[in-house]
Amino acid sequence: MEQLQWHIITSENAAEVFAKLEADGIDPVLWGLTDKDFELLAKNFAQIRNKLMETNALLDKYKEYYESETEKDEQK
């Protein structure tokens, strides 16, 4: 997966953050989240990951079950 960079902006460091972006040749624009929304984003991400893990595990179990059945049938 691609890595992304988080910037934390407070009322005190905002000017410094934008100046650094400009100095690095990056457009001085940021998409923002409050601390509460950041928490929700982290939790949403974790829920998606858990669902993915569950679905993959379930798929593996079905595969294990049906492929072993096929092997048995082939042996017969």
Binding site: M1, E2, Q3, L4, Q5, W6, H7, I8, T10, E12, N13, T34, D35, K36, F38, E39, A42, K43, F45, A46, Q47, I48, R49, N50, L52, M53, E54, N56, A57, L58, K61, E64, Y65
Partner: protein, 154 residues
């Protein structure tokens, strides 16, 4: 003469009847034997079927248990994430104002780890380092239950 012939006829008829009766008994016996073989075969088939059903049931129970264990571990990971944000009335926003650089570093590090968790959940194989991690400092704190199978929380 007539009486003699009558008795001879009677004896011949009795012998022929006896012969036919024995033949019929043999035929019935053969049918019964064939039926018994069929029944034994059916019983054997049923036994095999029951055995297979038992095995199926056991493997389904095992699979269910493993799935429930996994879901339990994933719930623990999720609860840990919640704790990280809200443990002892922690205010991440306030912490970020007070220690901006440190929280930014922690956030970026957690983001890398969370990305790796998605990769693992999507089927990416674990690295040796992830498999062998047993210490808190070595684990992927975002999803230790799936990233570090040998880590026992302490």
């Amino acid at each position: 003469m007539g009486i003699r012939l009558f008795f001879i006829g009677l004896i011949v008829t009795a012998l022929a009847g006896g012969g036919f009766y024995v033949m019929k008994l043999q035929k019935d016996n053969a049918i019964l034997k064939a039926n018994a073989i069929k029944l034994e075969s059916a019983i054997s088939d049923q036994k095999t079927l029951i055995e297979n059903q038992k095995k199926d049931f056991e493997s389904i129970l095992t699979a269910n248990k493993e799935m429930n264990d996994l879901i339990g571990k994933l719930k623990t990971d999720f609860a840990d994430l919640d704790k990280r944000f809200n443990k002892k009335n922690r205010d991440v926003g306030l912490l970020a104002i007070q220690k901006t650089k440190a929280i930014e570093r922690i956030t970026n590090s957690a983001s890398v780890k969370a990305n790796r968790c998605i990769e693992i959940a999507s089927g990416s194989p674990l690295t040796e380092k992830e498999i062998n991690a047993t210490k808190k400092s070595e684990i992927n704190t975002e999803c230790p239950s799936i990233a570090n199978p040998n880590y026992i929380p302490y």
